[in-house]
């Protein structure tokens, strides 16, 4: 029996090994993904994103317990950045999830962002695909809030929960505005802090300044292609005290409401199309990269870039040459 089959039958060690295969981008992993793909498409995938220290992991710990009671099984994927210098990573989200560790209905996997081919969103997608195929009805994905990576979560999940903590300062408002465009639900955690009210207020005013119905359209489909959907979803701003499990039940309700909204409004199908496009594109890139490595290799590639640097060839022509080399039929020999 293959690993995928063993995992499908509930072997947790096989599940964990399968996730490694997929995360490593190995050939076995690619084959397993193909085997598992027909089993996917059932899970509700929820992204929990926000600045480091906002309380995402603590909140996840509570959310997962709540959802476990409601939906039976929950998987958590916690993504943390790799060091760009050493490639290593310290994955500490489990620190806040000790309640869940030995729960047989919960599976937690920590993941480093690495230099994944196709980007971290693509690698996360593969891991989530496995968990979806294995029958987890809810998959919670924690990502650290920084720039592009954050926006890319939207390519992987159905519902984006943005977690803020009070007192982060007004200077990052502009940044927040960018994040708010992808948020479906906003949470001000650490509501036990007196500054929480102020944070809620400033988020409320930011929310009203956003173009209506804009959120969630960060990827894939252009506005022209998008069917005209009634806005229909007002991004709620909730308050939680994750440490004391306060407001968490309300958050699970909001997440369920968002799911219902997606299903009833037709947004769900639109999202699936966006995700599918992003995935096909990512695989196309990967295949192309592999071909490039096989047919030209690193040195050949660098030589061409060097030639562009020396102004011996223009960049468009260099790219055309690469494309030609990749698509050239196998030579006479």
């Amino acid at each position: 029996m293959g690993l995928a089959e063993a995992a499908l039958q509930g072997d947790r060690r096989a599940m964990a090994r399968l996730l490694s295969w997929v995360e490593n981008g190995s050939l076995e992993g690619q084959q397993a993904l193909a085997t598992l793909f027909p089993h996917t498409g059932k899970a509700h995938i929820i992204g929990i994103t926000g600045s480091p220290g906002a309380g995402k992991s603590t909140l996840l710990n509570q959310l997962a317990r709540e959802f476990r009671d409601r939906d039976g099984q929950v998987a958590i994927v916690a993504v943390d950045p790799s060091s760009p210098f050493t490639g290593g990573a310290l994955l500490g989200d489990r620190l806040r999830m000790r309640d869940l560790v030995t729960d047989p209905h919960i599976f937690i996997r920590s993941m480093a962002s690495r230099g994944h081919p196709g980007g971290v969103a693509h690698a996360t997608r593969d891991v989530v695909t496995v968990l979806d195929a294995l029958g987890f009805p809810l998959i919670l994905v924690e990502t650290v809030g920084a720039g592009q990576a954050q926006v890319e979560v939207a390519r992987v999940v159905h519902t984006v929960v943005l977690v803020e903590a009070p007192g982060m300062g007004d200077e990052i408002q502009a940044l927040k505005a960018g994040l708010m465009e992808i948020a479906d639900i906003i949470v001000v955690n650490k509501a036990d802090r007196p500054e929480a009210k102020q944070t809620v207020k400033s988020l409320q005013s930011l929310r009203t300044s956003l173009p209506a119905g804009h959120h969630g359209f960060g990827t894939g489909i252009s506005v022209e292609e998008a069917p005209v959907v009634p806005v229909g979803w007002e991004v709620p701003i909730l308050q939680t005290i994750a440490l004391e499990n306060e407001g968490v039940f309300e958050l699970t309700n909001a997440i369920k409401q968002h799911y219902d909204y997606l299903k009833n409004s037709g947004r769900w199908d639109l999202l699936l199309r966006q995700h599918a496009e992003a995935e096909v594109e990512a695989w196309l890139q990967r295949h192309f990269q592999q071909l490039l490595n096989q047919k030209i290799g690193d040195t050949g590639y660098k030589a061409l870039v060097d030639a562009v640097v020396r102004h011996e060839i223009d960049p468009a022509k260099a790219a055309a040459q690469l494309l030609e080399a990749v698509t050239r039929p196998v030579s006479k020999a």
């Binding site: 060690r13 050493t86 310290l90």
Partner: protein
């Protein structure tokens, strides 16, 4: 295709100091490994379950409480119960010299005392895992 050495650093037992465990965790990260750190007061079942879910290549236990002769066999038992008999295990902390051999007989691959240079731990793991 990219592979990384994945390490679980865990603190079973009741002692409340994790300075040493954190120093090792950071050193391993700086050596390019992915380190899953689980924090204080882990039960043997929690350690084994985290090792399983994270599919780590090696597990390091930090024990300062003096309870290592009781804790280590229980961690090993929980790991075996989950089919992880072959997973390399090392122990760091305050371990009397006389306990080192018995620990190794239980299946611990290496024991590191308080003053151990972190580079020694890095080397040990690289040797133990081979080239992942």
């Amino acid at each position: 295709m990219e592979r990384k050495i994945r390490v679980l650093i865990a603190k079973p037992g009741l002692d409340g100091h994790d300075r040493g465990a954190k120093v090792v965790a950071r050193a391993l990260r700086d050596a390019g490994m992915e380190v899953i750190y689980t924090g204080l007061r882990q039960t043997p079942a929690m350690v084994a379950e985290a090792a399983l879910q994270e599919d780590v290549n090696v597990v390091g236990l930090s024990i300062l409480s003096g309870a290592h002769m009781g804790l280590v066999p229980r961690v090993i038992e929980e790991m075996n119960r989950r089919g992880m008999e072959d997973l390399p295990l090392f122990v760091g902390g305050i371990i009397p010299v006389d306990d080192i051999e018995p620990l190794k007989e239980m299946g611990v691959r290496e024991v590191f005392g308080p003053g151990t240079d972190t580079s020694v731990v890095v080397e040990f793991i690289r040797r133990e895992i081979g080239s992942v």
